[in-house]
């Protein structure tokens, strides 16, 4: 039993060390900053700059967070504060169901619904009316874009954020609400000034957990984000996030020197980014609990 416990506990460390060991050849031959900030990805010429991919990941995740965070905070307020117990007992399994749908299925849905929606409606609208607004101006619209990846990611991280946020809100003792109502506060005032203030750290942790899930999501994004290794200028441009880079190139890397090292380095960078967010969320939660 101790052996399996040690194995389970050490697995994440072993993964990190193994990825580091395999990316050593690349890190040894170039500087780390040249890899992380390098803008050129030309494996055949020996250039392995991960810059465009890291920025692609940041774009897609940011769009997803902008869409999902307000939606999920309001939805969790509804679940925790307004919904009757019966409604909640119907809605919560539905949220779990949303969490259980496989990533490729999300991708297949987005390719069929979201991509045409952007190509036929949102994109042309932006071309006609939003030309002057940076980040929203569309030059050449295919639908396969940062926006499509962001929308599908937003849907995918909703169950993560909602379930944690609802738990956090419900953990605020009922006495606080009662005291607030007793001095004449409305429900809105109670929720914004008492419940949310009390639960703020937990809500932040819920959001950060959702973001860390979005950062590593692979297949659904890969299917709709366009996979062009250039810096996107607007949400209608394609991007190429880190997970997609790894998934798309792994099969064909053997013949080029340092290629596999570069891809495992990409996996290591992704792991470090995700773990940073994850650990940050846990620290916020633990600190919040101890106060």
């Amino acid at each position: 039993m101790l052996a399996t416990t040690l194995f389970s506990g050490m697995l994440v460390v072993v993964i990190a060390v193994a990825l580091y060991a395999r990316s050593r050849p690349l890190i040894a031959s170039k500087s780390l900053s040249a890899i992380i900030f390098g803008a050129n990805w030309k494996p055949s010429a020996g250039e392995f700059g991960l810059g465009p991919f890291i920025i692609g990941t940041a774009w897609v995740t940011a769009v997803a967070a902008i869409i999902a965070v307000p939606l999920c905070i309001f939805a969790s307020i509804y679940l925790a504060e307004y919904a009757a117990p019966r409604t909640r007992s119907i809605l919560k399994p539905l949220i779990d169901l949303l969490a259980g749908i496989p990533s490729v299925v999300y991708g297949a849905w987005a390719a069929l619904v979201i991509v045409p929606l952007i190509a036929d409606h949102l994109g042309p609208y932006a071309q006609a009316h939003l030309k002057r607004i940076p980040l929203l101006n569309a030059e050449y619209v295919t639908g396969y874009s940062v926006l499509a990846g962001g929308i599908v990611l937003a849907v995918m991280i909703c169950p993560v954020i909602i379930s944690v946020a609802e738990e956090v809100l419900r953990a605020v003792p009922q006495d606080y609400r009662d005291a607030s109502y007793a001095v004449g506060a409305t429900r809105l005032e109670t929720i914004t000034k008492v419940v949310i203030r009390r639960a703020l750290r937990g809500l932040m942790a819920a959001v950060v957990l959702g973001i860390s899930r979005a950062l590593g999501e692979t297949m659904a994004v890969l299917m709709v984000v366009g996979n062009v290794a250039a810096l996107p200028k607007s949400v209608f441009d394609p991007a190429y996030p880190l997970p997609a880079l790894i998934a798309n190139n792994y099969g064909e890397m053997m013949s080029i020197p340092l290629y596999d090292s570069a891809l495992l380095c990409a996996a290591l960078v992704l792991l470090v980014i995700v773990l940073f967010f994850n650990v940050a969320a846990r620290l916020v939660l633990v600190r919040g609990a101890s106060r």
């Binding site: 039993m1 389970s8 697995l11 259980g100």
Partner: protein, 281 residues
């Protein structure tokens, strides 16, 4: 109505509407997959293996991927259970409330956050290191690692709710820790173990990024652990990637099969845990 009351009403409407949007997204996804998938779903799709020209619009089905996924899911879940169950029992009975247990739980939380593509890359590295080829076994090992933290988290939650008086009664009768763990705690936690295993199975069978480099892909149904195995998520992905419309349409049939497997697993876990929960103290 005063301004305060109006704002109050506004929050209620906004939050209910937000919940509505999330539920509508779920409904839209299920509706798309069911309506589009039902059209291309037929008996030959789920009972035949692909013919040579399947990916250019030819005949055949995805029986190879369905069976491959089920073998892989069951194998990975059993392997993860073989590692995960002793781990949670150890955390509950031997290391209970110790510093060691909280460190291990923290590391497992971190492992839970590792993206599946990273498990895939690590699994591939491990496979090369051990001199294995892309095969059912390599896929099982990788998916088991991916499932492990999901399963442990679910089981640990239930194990911790088993009352400590039971341990004391068991020790009082002269049982050792090992006997207590296996005969008392594990038995009490059976609903949680089943739920955890089925939850992990559902996640494992739907994950594509971890099997992309490790399980391989083939038109044949795997007959041994050393052969490559096709999987449903990858079958969907590859069919979506072809330029042929009828092949893409069949991807939705495959997606419907995958969603049904995941749904049945999730319903089964609810029913089973309610059934088995009747005898829990």
């Amino acid at each position: 109505m005063t301004r305060r009351k109006l704002l109050d009403r506004l929050l209620k409407v906004t939050s209910a509407a937000s919940m509505g949007v999330v539920v509508a997204a779920l409904a839209a996804i299920l509706w798309t997959i069911i309506s589009k998938g039902a059209k291309s779903l037929n008996w030959s799709l789920i009972t035949q293996v692909p013919k040579g020209d399947f990916y250019t619009g030819g005949g055949g089905g995805i029986a190879n991927a369905i069976l491959g996924s089920i073998y892989l899911g069951i194998g990975a879940t059993l392997l993860a259970l073989a590692i995960g169950l002793p781990t949670v029992l150890y955390l509950r009975t031997y290391a209970d409330r110790s510093r060691f247990a909280s460190v291990v739980r923290g590391l497992l939380d971190v492992l839970w956050g590792v993206p599946s593509i990273v498990f895939g890359a690590f699994g591939f590295t491990l496979m090369i290191y051990l001199g294995m080829r892309a095969s059912l076994l390599a896929g099982i090992i990788t998916v088991a690692m991916f499932e492990l933290p999901i399963m442990i988290r679910a089981m640990d939650l239930v194990m911790r709710m088993v009352p400590h008086e039971l341990d004391e009664v068991s020790y009082g009768l002269g049982a050792t820790r090992c006997e207590t763990a296996i005969k008392v705690i594990a038995r009490q936690a059976i609903p949680g173990i089943v739920t955890g295993a089925l939850l992990a199975f559902g996640r494992g069978i739907g994950d594509a990024a971890s099997v992309l480099f490790t399980a391989g892909f083939t038109d044949r149904i795997p007959e041994s652990l050393t052969q490559p195995a096709a999987t449903l998520p990858l079958a969907i992905f590859f069919q979506m990637g072809t330029p042929f419309k009828e092949v893409q349409d069949r991807a939705y049939g495959a997606a419907l099969v995958l969603v049904m497997i995941v749904l049945v697993t999730s319903v089964a876990s609810r029913v089973l845990s309610a059934r088995l929960g009747r005898y829990v103290v």
